[in-house]
């Protein structure tokens, strides 16, 4: 039996237009055998959660470089909870000061990947932590 492919929603919440990172990571995840759905820019947390449900993804990978992660990431987690989605692995990345990371983990973001992270680390993390 072939293993089901991991489905990832790559998302850009908020107004930030920096999409180099998310696109590069999307390519790497795809090359690693995952299915990647990229939302494009300017997604509201509501849109992201809706897309995650519709696409039935295993993973949500969000990227914010504008400093709005402190609002946007927890908001996505709240909406997931409201929608009763508990089995999705949520990870984040971007320009995120170290002192913000603990709070994001506390609300359920499983990992935060900062600048310079090899894409192989992210692939490995997803493979090891995706609920199957």
């Amino acid at each position: 039996m072939t293993k089901k492919k991991i489905r990832v929603l790559a998302a850009k919440p908020g107004l930030d237009g920096h999409d180099r990172g998310i696109k590069v990571i999307s390519c790497a995840l795809r090359d690693a055998g995952m299915e990647v759905i990229y939302t494009g820019l300017r997604q509201t947390p509501e849109q992201i959660v809706q897309a995650a449900i519709q696409e039935d993804v295993d993973v949500i990978a969000m990227s914010v470089l504008s400093g709005a992660h402190g609002y946007l990431f927890p908001r996505v987690m709240d909406l997931l909870e409201e929608a009763g989605v508990t089995d999705v692995l949520v990870i984040g990345g971007g320009i995120i000061p170290e002192e913000d990371i603990q709070h994001l983990k506390d609300v359920g973001i499983r990992a935060i990947f900062g600048p310079g992270t090899p894409t192989t680390d992210i692939v490995q993390f997803i493979e090891e932590n995706t609920p199957r």
């Binding site: 790559a10 107004l15 180099r20 590069v24 709005a68 992660h69 320009i95 310079g116 090899p118």
Partner: protein, 559 residues
């Protein structure tokens, strides 16, 4: 450049040298089998007069301040006046940013560069739902003329030049600047500065678009027309390769896509009935200074020569100023590492040096802590000092185009020009830059380069010091990171509320209605925007009126 006999002698001697070197190689092979620039241009062991593509000095290089401007746009270059040291800054509130500007001016900075927050850049007021979490974060929040007055309080606008990184709503922010200056008693004819106003690269690489391409191009050409009559010293656009490069393009693509965008703006203005020599002298450019030192120097020189040729031959521009590619440079933010951040000071120094040797008109040097957050005051000071050191201590500013005539740099200049020209021809065939962006071609090209670079870093084919080699566990992280106070949002909301209570709302309704009507016709939009701004209509109200008429751009998500 050399007579045939001399050239033959050089070639013979080179052939003998290559043979001799073969013996050395057998004993001691070179570090790599193939050397190439960051953009993939092959690099040879040595360059000699015989490596040149046979350029004609006067035709291809000329003298500084003369066509084709390969050696610089002014005859005296930095012997006359140094480049403008212009640090991009802005965060939180207008009050806070005003303090930072005054600090930077006291530190010897010679021009201002305003960073706006994302809601401002996308035409939302601070109380718009999409603005949640973004107010004051990547720049200053400006909701109305009131905020702009605060931003420049105590800064005489007839004495500074101000660059504003604003694109989709550029006309609105420019109108606010003009009105602020008027309140200081400074007329528009005395204002100096730049608005970025480059929507095409927003679609392709930076993401702060609002309207679809058609109306966006109309706003841009309306600005060209308005400024050429009313704000003659204003740079009406800064056609930007910077963000294209940051998004992952090569140096060749940076030049090609930027100039292709430039061509699209010139064509749009000509189609709108403007005369080339009326608006072209106020076009300006903005490039990235990246890692590969000589390639970067060559890139700036190649861009100048290429643009001069395009303006002269394709558009029959006659005025010398129409032919000159004047540009701002920023060092490459994407090359800054969070690992061993102090190394960033050295990266920035090398990149800044390449911009100066490439003849930039103004320069922003990044701060060492920018892989973490907006820069702290301390880090910005070191970045500014880097420029001052290059300007006043290194001696590189004492002659024009010091690397001109280097066999390697000239050859690279030719290569970059040729490769960029080939891209531009391809884009021409597709129907120009607007079509290329709409089809996602530019985005795709950039993305492929970005991924290739990432792979090169991960295989350590490309070494990044401190990241994939010479790592150091527990290296010190920068302290004093700048944090934007959460209260900025609240105070911005309070200011908006007060504004809406205190202003003449009937006047706002009527100026905004007039603007909406103007947008449905073909008259120049800028006077109507100017009136709306003067009546203290907010940025969001003005942009919403235009959204109603023009609609909004929805990007194709390319992957």
């Amino acid at each position: 450049m050399y007579d045939a006999k001399k050239l033959k002698e050089i070639e013979e001697s080179l052939a003998a040298w290559v043979k001799k070197t073969q013996a050395v190689l057998e004993k001691r092979p070179e570090r790599k089998e193939h050397f190439e620039t960051l953009s993939g241009i092959p690099v040879e062991r040595v360059y000699t007069p015989s490596s040149e593509s046979g350029y004609d000095y006067l035709q291809d290089l000329g003298l500084p301040g003369e066509y084709p401007y390969t050696r610089g746009v002014q005859p005296t270059m930095y012997r006359g006046r140094l480049w403008t040291m212009r640090q991009y800054a802005g965060f939180a509130s207008a009050e806070e940013s005003n303090r930072r500007y005054k600090y930077l001016l006291e530190q010897g900075q010679t021009g201002l560069s305003v960073a706006f927050d994302l809601p401002t850049q996308i035409g939302y007021d601070s109380d718009h739902p999409m603005a949640q979490g973004e107010v004051g974060k990547v720049g200053v929040a400006i909701d109305s003329l009131k905020d702009m007055e605060t931003l420049f309080d105590g800064i005489p606008l007839d004495q500074v030049s101000t660059s504003m990184t604003i694109n989709a709503p550029a006309a609105v922010l420019l109108a606010m600047y003009v009105q602020t200056a008027a309140k200081q008693g400074v007329g528009p004819d005395r204002l100096k500065g730049t608005i970025q106003n480059d929507i095409l690269k927003e679609y392709a690489a930076r993401g702060t678009y609002i309207f679809p391409p058609g109306p966006s191009m109309r706003i841009i050409t309306d600005i060209f027309a308005f400024c050429s009559e009313n704000i003659p010293m204003w740079n009406t656009i800064s056609i930007s390769g910077y963000h294209i490069r940051e998004a992952g393009s090569t140096a060749v693509q940076e030049v090609a896509f930027t100039l292709a965008n430039g061509i699209a703006y010139v064509e749009a203005a000509l189609n709108a009935g403007l005369k080339v020599d009326d608006f072209a002298p106020r076009l300006s450019f903005f490039f990235n200074a990246h890692l590969d030192f000589f390639e970067e120097v060559a890139k700036f020189r190649a861009a100048r020569r290429l643009w001069a040729g395009i303006m002269k031959e394709r558009f029959q521009a006659k005025s010398a100023r129409s032919l000159m590619l004047r540009f701002h440079t920023q060092t490459a933010g994407c090359t800054l590492t969070a690992q061993q951040p102090q190394n960033n000071v050295i990266r920035v120094t090398l990149q800044a040096l390449s911009a100066v040797l490439g003849g930039t008109q103004s320069l922003h040097t990044n701060s060492m802590d920018e892989a973490f957050s907006l820069p702290s005051e301390e880090a910005v000071q070191t970045a500014l000092r880097t420029q001052q050191l290059i300007a006043h201590e290194s001696g590189v500013a004492n002659t024009a185009d010091p690397l001109g005539g280097s066999f390697y740099v000239e050859r690279l200049t030719d290569e970059l020009e040729e490769r960029a020209r080939a891209y531009i021809e391809k884009i021409d065939e597709m129907g120009g830059a607007v079509v290329a962006v709409e089809q996602g071609y530019i985005q795709k090209e950039i993305q492929e380069s970005a991924y290739a670079y990432q792979k090169a870093v991960e295989t350590t084919e490309q070494i990044v010091v401190g990241l994939n080699k010479f790592q150091e566990e527990g290296a010190p992280r920068p302290t004093n990171l700048l944090r934007v106070d959460k209260r900025v949002m609240e105070s911005q909301l309070a200011k908006l509320e007060r504004l809406r209570a205190e202003r003449d709302n009937a006047a706002v309704t009527s100026t905004v209605a007039r603007l909406r009507e103007c947008a449905t016709g073909t008259d120049n939009l800028i006077p109507a925007i100017m009136e709306a701004v003067a009546s203290y209509a907010t940025l969001g109200e003005i942009c919403d009126a235009l959204r109603e008429v023009f609609g909004e751009y929805t990007a194709v998500a390319t992957l």
